[in-house]
Symmetry: C2
């Protein structure tokens, strides 16, 4: 499962990288303005993956942070983190975004 997803991700970013160069070229030629360029950049890495309770918990444990501190980092409540890990509630959009950031870039990325 993990392997398959990584493969997909890798293939996707290769394609995105090429698109990126292409669009950047179009921008330099003047075919698309700076604004469109910005929007393109932003839309590049927007895929946010769902996370199971177990995954959230293991993600936190990888950072060696208690639920309390982890919650503080995400600017949410301990109660929320607990419920995510148990599966009682699912993290909201922005919460999921933060969890993805931590997973992809490490905890420092959100400090």
């Amino acid at each position: 499962m993990t392997r398959r997803k990584q493969a997909v991700t890798r293939r996707k970013s290769r394609i995105i990288d090429e698109m990126h160069e292409t669009v950047r070229g179009l921008h330099e030629i003047g075919l698309i303005d700076k604004r469109r360029m910005s929007e393109f950049e932003a839309l590049c890495h927007l895929d946010v993956e769902e996370m199971t309770p177990r995954k959230i918990k293991s993600l936190r444990e990888k950072t060696h942070l208690s639920q309390a501190v982890f919650a503080a980092v995400l600017n949410t409540s301990v109660s929320s983190v607990q419920k995510w890990e148990i599966g009682d509630k699912k993290p909201s959009g922005p919460s999921l975004k933060l969890l993805n950031l931590i997973e992809r870039k490490g905890i420092e990325a959100v400090l």
Copy 2:
């Protein structure tokens, strides 16, 4: 206003920097374990500032992104971004965290 805040921030980080060195030293001596060290690191930069509707809007405009794309970046709905900017709703904890990250580190930090 901006100037005053920058000053405060600067003074604060100087203190934090010293604390950081101190704690790192304690860690190297072996007085605190790696886990405590992690928690300390995490707790360093946890102050999240409130944002007025106008500030949110100007923050988005600085990134040259439409409400729709900005919402996508934060993994939230257009409706939510609109209400933040109007003042109808206030961004939740994790949302506010993301907005702060963008303000401090730029939009790339959350991509």
